[in-house]
């Protein structure tokens, strides 16, 4: 690989990493402000104009806090667990295309860190790793509440990963490829070819599963602070706790980006051919991607402050007895449609 190509990759990695971390900061602020507004409160408004520097103040506070490791905790795993959660959360974004390709320095640059031909599998694999972080955190804390949180998380993930995977299968059937770029191209022909219109049922299943996957309300049983103190992160303090927090928000950003990629045409701007507009078109596509992701992030917060938590048995029932059959039914429908189309 030549120097320029290498530089471009490094720049892309840095940009994506910085953007994700910035997104995490914005999300921490947004979560607190939006929740406050939804409850007719004000929220943090003292640090900086309208309180926008609050996440930085929070970060400094976390750094200053005492880093506590319980005496009888399994130390190596206890220290490793937050990293196991955070790193996959940040890695997942690598395969998600965030804009149409641009022409710079006489070559075409894809706005995506890595164009993996099994992109969607890579995403599913990495998001599943993050549950190990939660389970190990719960196990190593040597605390019954943490352990319960970890167990719940793993059971929840198994039940929802299936439905989510099957919902994605119907998308893959339509696109005929596991590459995220192909899935976007497949949705580009017109506004109505976005998968949300072609696969509304799959979208619904995927959206619900994504909430369970990111451990967000109404599926945040693994931390359920009313029952489990803090769930898997009960014993964590200081930067380790902050890492759990960052991982949660990074996961949300990735999940929102994935939802957009799979069902809302990714960076596709409706009714516009980005390629014909050159650099401006690429910028427009990035903007469109960011706006779509922002909407889903808002939806995450919106849902969290609207719905109560599921009871554990309800969660399991919904996962196994509703979502899974629906997802299978949807694959059946999609498969049938494609077969009929192929037969002419």
């Amino acid at each position: 690989m030549d120097l320029l190509g290498f530089t471009i990759i490094v720049v892309k990695v840095l940009v994506v990493f910085a953007a994700t971390m910035l997104g995490v900061l914005v999300m921490i602020y947004a979560e607190r402000r939006v929740s406050a507004f939804m409850q007719d409160r004000v929220g943090p408004n003292r640090v900086g104009p309208k309180g926008v520097l609050q996440p930085i103040a929070d970060g400094i506070k976390f750094l200053m806090k005492e880093d506590l490791v319980p005496e009888r905790a399994d130390k190596p795993i206890f220290i490793l667990a937050p990293a196991i959660l955070l790193i996959p959360a940040l890695m997942t974004f690598a395969v998600i295309p965030f804009g149409s390709p641009i022409n710079l320095f006489g070559r075409e640059i894809a706005l995506q860190v890595a164009d993996v031909n099994v992109g969607i599998l890579y995403v599913l694999a990495l998001t599943s790793i993050s549950v190990y972080g939660i389970v190990l955190a719960g196990w190593s804390s040597n605390n019954k509440y943490s352990l319960l949180g970890g167990l719940r998380s793993s059971a929840q993930l198994i039940s929802y990963e299936l439905a989510m995977g099957l919902a994605v299968v119907s998308i893959i059937l339509l696109a005929g490829s596991l590459r995220l770029n192909d899935i976007i191209t497949d949705q580009q022909s017109s506004f109505l070819s976005w998968n949300i219109f072609r696969q509304p049922l799959a979208f619904l299943i995927f959206l619900i599963a994504v909430y369970a996957e990111t451990n967000r309300l109404p599926f945040d049983l693994s931390e359920a602070e009313q029952e489990l103190v803090g769930g898997y992160h009960t014993e964590y303090s200081s930067m380790k706790f902050a890492m759990f927090f960052m991982a949660e928000y990074a996961n949300m950003i990735t999940a929102a980006a994935l939802t957009v990629t799979l069902f809302f045409g990714g960076w596709d701007v409706p009714l516009l051919d980005e390629g014909s507009l050159g650099l401006f078109g690429a910028l427009l596509s990035v903007l469109s991607f960011i706006l779509k992701v922002a909407f889903f992030l808002f939806l995450f917060i919106w849902v969290r402050w609207t719905f109560p938590r599921f009871r554990y048995d309800q969660l399991m029932r919904l996962g196994w007895k509703v979502m899974l059959p629906l997802a299978l039914f949807n694959i059946f429908l999609t498969g049938g449609y494609l077969t009929i189309k192929a037969l002419g």
């Binding site: 939006v34 406050a36 507004f37 939804m38 409850q39 007719d40 409160r41 004000v42 408004n45 003292r46 309208k50 619904l204 919106w302 849902v303 402050w305 609207t306 719905f307």
Partner: protein, 178 residues
């Protein structure tokens, strides 16, 4: 009376839950744009209504003489036993009248019931609208006669928390916009 509760058979749409979820989302979305109800306390202060029972004051006659005659009706009426009066002959009129030499109220004991106000035959003791008088020690929260008379000066003309008085009483930052 017994109420008859009709059992309700959920319809297909009820079982789907999605319309109900949408309605919930709409409720929170409406609240998102509603004016918030928070009072940004040190910057903005809640103005209590007429009749609020806060910090006590001892009233004075227009010429500045204390109204209290140290009859100790208030301390007798006090259910919390927080009013302590030491009476003495008045410095005016050649000592023919009673007047309080000391008049201490233990604000930590006081339950702000307003019985002292009702018991007082001279309308000398009254409760004001002042509610933020926290302090660092227990001793500082026993208010004496001079303090009570000062409260009268602060509250006799207008509500303590209206703008005019606030600038006098404490330094107030400009209110932060939300």
């Amino acid at each position: 009376m017994a109420t008859i509760i009709k059992s309700y058979e959920p319809t297909f749409w009820d079982k789907l839950y999605l319309p109900a979820l949408m309605r919930g989302l709409i409720v929170t979305f409406r609240h998102f744009f509603r004016r918030n109800v928070t009072i940004q306390y040190p910057d903005q202060k809640h103005i209590p209504p007429e009749g609020y029972r806060g910090l006590h004051r001892l009233n004075k006659f227009p010429e500045g003489r204390i109204k209290c005659v140290a009859c100790e009706m208030c301390s007798a009426a006090c259910p919390a036993d927080c009013i302590h009066i030491i009476p003495g002959p008045s410095p005016w009129d050649g000592g023919k009248e009673r007047y309080p030499v000391r008049f201490d109220i233990d604000l930590l004991r006081c339950i702000f019931c307003g019985f002292c106000e009702m018991a007082c035959p001279e309308e000398a003791i009254e409760l004001t609208e002042i509610y933020d008088f926290s302090d660092y020690t227990r001793d500082d929260l026993v208010i004496d006669k001079e303090g009570l008379l000062e409260v009268y000066d602060l509250t006799k003309d207008q509500n303590y928390y209206t703008k005019n008085n606030l600038s006098k009483a404490s330094s107030v930052d400009t209110p932060i916009d939300t």
